[in-house]
Point group: C2
Chain length 357, copies 2
Amino acid sequence: MQLTFFTPGPAQLFPTFEKHLHTFVEGQLGSISHRSQQYRDLHKFTVDQLRILLNVPDTHAILFLGSASEIWERILFSCVELESFHLVNGSFSKKFYDYSNALNKYAHKYEKPMGEGFIASEIEVPEYAELICTTHNETSSGVQMTVAEIHKLKQKYPHKLIAVDMVSSAPYPDLDFNLIDTAFFSVQKAFGLPAGLGVWIVNEKCLAKAEHIRQQYSIGAHNDLPTLWKNALKHETPATPNVMGIYLLGKIAEDFNKIGVGQIRKETEHKAGLLYKFVEKHNGFSTFVKQKAQRSQTVVVTNTEVPAAEIIKALKSKEMVVGSGYGEFKGTQLRIANFPATSTGQVEALIKELESI
Amino acid sequence: MQLTFFTPGPAQLFPTFEKHLHTFVEGQLGSISHRSQQYRDLHKFTVDQLRILLNVPDTHAILFLGSASEIWERILFSCVELESFHLVNGSFSKKFYDYSNALNKYAHKYEKPMGEGFIASEIEVPEYAELICTTHNETSSGVQMTVAEIHKLKQKYPHKLIAVDMVSSAPYPDLDFNLIDTAFFSVQKAFGLPAGLGVWIVNEKCLAKAEHIRQQYSIGAHNDLPTLWKNALKHETPATPNVMGIYLLGKIAEDFNKIGVGQIRKETEHKAGLLYKFVEKHNGFSTFVKQKAQRSQTVVVTNTEVPAAEIIKALKSKEMVVGSGYGEFKGTQLRIANFPATSTGQVEALIKELESI
């Protein structure tokens, strides 16, 4: 039985994954030294492909860590001396906020219920907050904050740093890195790879801030930003990295670049459109996110009249896997990932099965 | 060209690696949810196999993090309120010490030059040091602190916590976890896997200490010990883990258990014996570590009369890769890994090539 995963991470692996894994194994790349030229070339290839894909200028480093959760912590260590500000509307944006408290920072939040989103004009960032933490795509509720609103928010507060969690949406959001100070994602979502690698995009302003903070406070010991940055200049990491993950990410990013990021974004919107159209029109389903502009393009969340578990079970018998709702919505919602690894044809096949339920 | 890697990590992959990787891919395990029963079973399997292999009692949790370097930091956050103590005799034991300073702890050290080791009777731990940090195998210099001396040191200071870095030796050291509070390793050394996973063995005393410390100080936000522990009780991790690494580690640990850890330790000593015998007897080579008992069984370091780079190049033409010396010894030493992935026959073949140089 070969399943198709429409789960929001870990997710369906990208079709070329096996081919690249084979090349990695054949080339014995799992054994090469992380201080060799061969490794540095591999590392640089991945960074270069990501720069092209996400349009990241040289003012920003692209760094490799263990997970996006680790990056939450490193951003807070590096960019917040005393106070952070968080837009919270789901479990993952809430965790970013919790991390700040756990590091004994003073964390402010503007909170909305699950399923609701934010626009820049309604947001008042406290005067002493140094960093604004936004979530482009709240994986738990299927709410997006549009790129336009994120950009507007930064323009409203140009002297504060802004961080964008794009864990479950990159490379979909077309961020302007002339505005965005730092952003991050992990590879087991829209890049269609096994979990175990987080990617941190971060600019010189964050680096300067980290260097300022550490004159008085700890900015962490492992993967602290100045050490990561210094190593990145020579295409290395401070400790032995997930070489396999970095290699595979570079190859998938190259595949994405061959398709073209514009095309990937267009297909993402097309497939999301098909899914939302089904959810809106079909009895027994209804959209969780009421504001159309705030509906995620990569994680479609639908309320269900029959218990979600029954639908999940029925789909499984058709070799399709969708995610359940998050937390309290586990029994009454489905979360359907819409990542590049699943084609329009596969999304149409899923909709056909949903229609027959 | 198929190379044999005698490098101290990343290293030669264990012969069964490809088979297990194939099973992982065929089973679509890269896509399964890390909150599913299927994942929990996989996680528990790896923990159970490691418990058998390393004789870890139920007083200790076995936790999965991104790297051994990350674990240095988490141990210091969890076990040190104010003061730590470090045995430093190489680059990696020095980094553990540096991490403590970076977290604004007061780090004491007893330091010896590269190539020298420690015995319990000579060590005086300062009164207020809460944690004793030892390195079973200093990868940079090929010095081991014997398990007997580590145990004696804990018995000398039973009320202090003790940590054992066994990054480049596990499963070789037969630690008594009735004495050892915490130990850790990474998978790209003697387990013969690609890098990207660190394993943290830690007991209830460390957990209690972490819970005490966090009443007053931050113990970190990501992978803090109480959260890791709580998740481990249900065979999960706080964030999406490196599922592939955890799966492969479980299968390799199972393979090791089938061979028997006693047999693996015996073979390790036999192969190390062959290498040290060659180094001692052959013109142009000499052992770096003078005290016989302190010579690493898993990373053999030899001084070379001809430039190390020439030997490395000559071996490469014979499809064998050995490591250069570390730091200032890069040009004048070789580091030869002696992990389970390389057989007695392969070690003999390496020695034969070294003899002909």
